[in-house]
């Protein structure tokens, strides 16, 4: 059991260290996130009352695009250096690799969200009328929902033509209940109108179901490449 966590930790810290040293991917993603927020602000007039009502949806769609950009490069480094082959023949459990990758993506996407959220609040003059603390579980559960499936589908897309488009193509339909939950919960919390509890519980259920599925089936996918 301890070998799984040590492998996971080693892989995760290696990824973070490599990412931090090069900073290329991180910087371009940060800039992309900023661009998305600005474009949304031009497309959906922040002064209009309607835009403030749909701000919850806008934020999560922006996060979704940023997440896809981050997810697409998940396995790029591994592919370049035949690391996946090494993993396949090693006795290390595939789940350790998956958890490390998913956690790495989670951290990356969370950093992007931490940049975009304040910008949205500023550009759209958003005020949180409901219980603001609830935004934290929504953000964590919602981000994990996108990242866990995104990391998994990124692995599935490795041997496909048009790899970059295959990931969102597989991810978006399956993510629909999660996205709806995130958006509704955010909308409710921002407007203070109603209870977000159902949506948070649904997000939690989604996360549990799909984390289990990803952990159970990643070995199959890894062997299949």
């Amino acid at each position: 059991m301890s070998s799984i966590s040590s492998i996971t930790w080693a892989t995760l810290t290696k990824d973070i260290r490599l990412e931090w040293r090069s900073k290329d991917a991180l910087n371009s993603m940060l800039f992309f996130s900023l661009l998305v927020v600005v474009i949304f602000s031009f497309s959906f007039d922040p002064n209009a009352e309607e835009s403030r009502e749909i701000a919850g949806g806008l934020i999560w769609v922006a996060f979704l695009f940023a997440a896809v950009v981050a997810l697409n490069q998940t396995w790029a480094r591994e592919l370049r250096n035949q690391v996946l082959d090494a993993y396949r023949v090693s006795p290390a459990p595939a789940t350790a690799l998956f958890v490390a990758k998913a956690l790495g993506n989670f951290i990356l996407v969370s950093v992007l969200e931490a940049l975009m959220a304040p910008l949205f609040m500023i550009f759209y003059n958003l005020r949180v009328l409901g219980p603001a603390w609830q935004l934290i579980p929504v953000a964590i559960l919602g981000t994990w929902a996108l990242v866990v499936n995104g990391t998994f589908f990124a692995a599935m897309s490795l041997r496909t033509r048009s790899r970059e488009i295959m990931l969102p193509l597989l991810l978006f339909p399956i993510s629909i209940p999660a996205v709806q939950s995130m958006v509704e919960a955010t909308r409710i919390i921002l407007s203070g109108d109603g209870a977000a509890r159902f949506w948070i519980v649904l997000l939690l259920t989604y996360d549990v179901v799909f984390t289990t599925a990803c952990l159970a089936l990643f070995e199959t996918v890894l062997q299949a490449e």
Binding site: R159, T160, M166, L169, P177, S181, E184, V209, Q223
Partner: protein
């Protein structure tokens, strides 16, 4: 098996003709909607058939993952493809029915929306199968099918709760159904199920032939025979 197919095809055609007759002439006229309501007899059986086919896909996918039986994979592919065809019909007939009756082309009611998401999931399944070149495609597709199946109850619940917060017109109406209408509905469902079986059989034969040709082609290229 091969000889019984033409007989089955003829029976299916007769059933479909009879079901059509029942739907257009025998079924009673609906009080509020008029003749347009008869779309119901095509819309609903297509939906039930599509869901049944997607369930077959799930079972075949699981069997494939457990047993690695190539026939199970062929059944999975066939049921997904034919399921998408029937699902497309549901999504096309739904708006055609909604427009004259409720004045809108689309409503995010629970059944239509769930059908749309199902359609999206299975189209992505077919795209994965098409774009994935490796010999491991059946395995990946089977995994995706399981993910899709896990997603369906979550989709249903999220839309259901959303609808209770933001009510919209329901296509097909709620409430109980006239006995005679139910009778016609079931006849049409039987006819469309037979049609689905016939189409699946044809598609399955096509898939087997396709795999046979691919096998022969790869054998010949190994031997270096000029093509």
């Amino acid at each position: 098996m091969k000889r019984s197919f033409p007989i089955f095809a003829v029976i299916t055609a007769i059933l479909l003709a009879y079901a059509f007759y029942e739907a257009i002439w025998v079924a009673p006229m609906e009080r509020t909607m008029g003749d347009v309501q008869r779309i119901f007899y095509y819309h609903v059986p297509s939906a039930w058939t599509a869901f049944l086919l997607f369930f077959v896909n799930l079972v075949a996918s699981v069997i494939y993952l457990v047993r690695r039986n190539p026939r199970a994979d062929a059944v999975a592919l066939v049921s997904a493809e034919v399921g998408v065809v029937f699902c497309t019909i549901v999504l096309v007939t739904g708006p055609i029915w909604a427009r004259p009756v409720w004045g809108i082309w689309w409503t995010w009611d629970i059944r239509l929306t769930t059908t749309l998401v199902l359609w999206l999931i299975y189209v992505s399944y077919l795209v994965l199968r098409r774009f994935s070149d490796s010999s491991q495609t059946p395995k990946l597709a089977a995994v995706l099918a399981i993910f899709g199946a896990l997603d369906v109850p979550l989709v249903y619940f999220s839309i259901w709760f959303f609808r209770t917060q933001h009510p919209q017109p329901v296509i097909g109406g709620g409430g109980s159904i006239d006995q005679r209408m139910l009778h016609v509905l079931l006849i049409n469902w039987l006819a469309f199920s037979c049609l689905a079986l016939a189409i699946c059989w044809a598609r399955y034969r096509l898939e087997l032939l396709q795999r046979e040709v691919e096998e022969v082609e790869s054998l010949e290229s190994l031997r270096g025979v000029p093509q």
